[in-house]
Amino acid sequence: MKSSRRRFIKLAGIAALGLGAQPAIKAIAPAAEHGSQMQFTQSPNALTAKQWAMVIDARRFKTPADLEPMIEACHKLHNVPHFTEKRHEIKWIWETHYHNAFPNVPNRFISEETEERPYLVLCNHCQNPPCVRACPTQATFKRASDGIVMMDMHRCIGCRFCMAACPYGSRSFNFVDPLKGLVESEINLKYPRRMKGVVEKCTFCVERLAEGQMPACVEASNGAIVFGDLEDPESEVRQVLRENFTIRRKQNLGTEPCVYYIV
C-alpha cells in the first residue's frame, strides 16, 4: 500500500475524531445505565437558609454552670471525646473569658458584670472563612447551599493548616484515638465518631437541620440562643439583631463571623 500525505492526513483525522468522541461516549453510557434511576433530594422537612447565623444572649448566662447544658448536649450528641489533658482537648462549643472572646473590644473600666460572666464560643461559620482557604484538600469547605463551614472527615489529611488559620481556635485535632475519651455506654449510636489524625469542629448541627430540628445547643438554651437565616430580613435572627446591640468576635479581621453576641 502506498502511503501518501493525503492518506496520512485522512487517517490522522479519523483517529482524532475517535479519540475526541471517547469521553463523550463515556459520560453518556453510565448515565443511561443507572443515572436516571437515582435521585438525590433534600428531606422535605429539612430547614433551609441562605446563611445560617446564631445570636447568643450572653446576658442570660451568669455562671459557668449556665453554659454546661449546651456544652453537654452538643458533646454528647456528637460523640466529642473528653480528655483531661489540655493538649489533647477536643471542643466544639466551650466557655471562655471575656478578654479571650473579645480581645479587641479593649475599653477600660467596662462593666464588671460583662467582664466576669462566661462566654459561650463555637465555630463562627464565617462568611469569609480563612480555614477554607488554608485547607489543601478542600476537606473543609463553605457549603454554598446554606453557608455552613463543613468538615469532610473523609478528606481530612490532618495537616492542621485550618487550625493555624482559624482566629477563634474553633478547631481541634485528634492527637489520640477519640474512642479513648469516650465512655462506651454513652456513645450516641446515631452519629459517627472520628478517627485519630483528623480535625473536627462544630457543624451547626447539619444532621439535625436536615431533619427539621434546631441545633442541639439552641434547643438546650431555653431561648437564650436564637438561630436562623441571616439573609432573610423576616427571620428571628434578624429580628433579634434589629432590636439589640450585638458584637462579634474579632470582626475586624474580616472573616465576617456569623455568631453574634448580645452583651
Partner: protein
C-alpha cells in the same frame, strides 16, 4: 563454561522457589480455590427482598454507590435517595445500611476478608447502631 552446572542448578533452585506457592497449591492442597464466601442475610434484609438497588448492582457497585452517597450527604447536603422503584431512603451507612444488615461480621466482613480489602469505614462509623455487642 566450567560453571554451567552451577548456573543450571541455581536456575533450578530459583524456579522451584519461585513456583513454590503454585506447586504447593497443586501438589499438596489439590488445587482448590478458597471457598466462596457466603453472606448471611438477616431476617429484616430477607423480608425487604431488595436492597436500595438491585442485588446484582449492589454486589458489584456498592462501593461506588456509598461513595456517591457520601459526596451527596457531606458536600451537597442532600440526604434522601430515591431509587428506580420510587422508594426513598436516608443515605446513612450506620443508620440505613446497617439497620437491615446488622450482622456486619457475617455480611460485610466475609466478602471483604475474602477479597482482602480493608475499608476504613468503621474507624468512625458505628458498626453496631442497634447497640449490640461487636
Amino acid at each position: 563454561m566450567n560453571d554451567k552446572k552451577w548456573i543450571v542448578l541455581g536456575l533450578a533452585v530459583f524456579l522451584v522457589l519461585f513456583l513454590s506457592p503454585f506447586l504447593y497449591n497443586v501438589l499438596i492442597k489439590g488445587a482448590k480455590a478458597a471457598p466462596m464466601p457466603e453472606v448471611v442475610l438477616t431476617e429484616k434484609a430477607k423480608a425487604a427482598k431488595q436492597c436500595v438497588m438491585p442485588t446484582e448492582f449492589m454486589r458489584a457497585n456498592h462501593m461506588q454507590l456509598l461513595d456517591e452517597w457520601r459526596l451527596k450527604v457531606v458536600r451537597s447536603g442532600l440526604r434522601d435517595f430515591t431509587n428506580a422503584e420510587g422508594k426513598t431512603f436516608n443515605m446513612s451507612l450506620s443508620n440505613t445500611c446497617l439497620d437491615c444488615h446488622s450482622n456486619k461480621a457475617d455480611f460485610c466482613d466475609r466478602c471483604h476478608n475474602y477479597a482482602s480489602v480493608a475499608p476504613y469505614c468503621w474507624d468512625c462509623h458505628i458498626q453496631n447502631p442497634q447497640g449490640e455487642t461487636k
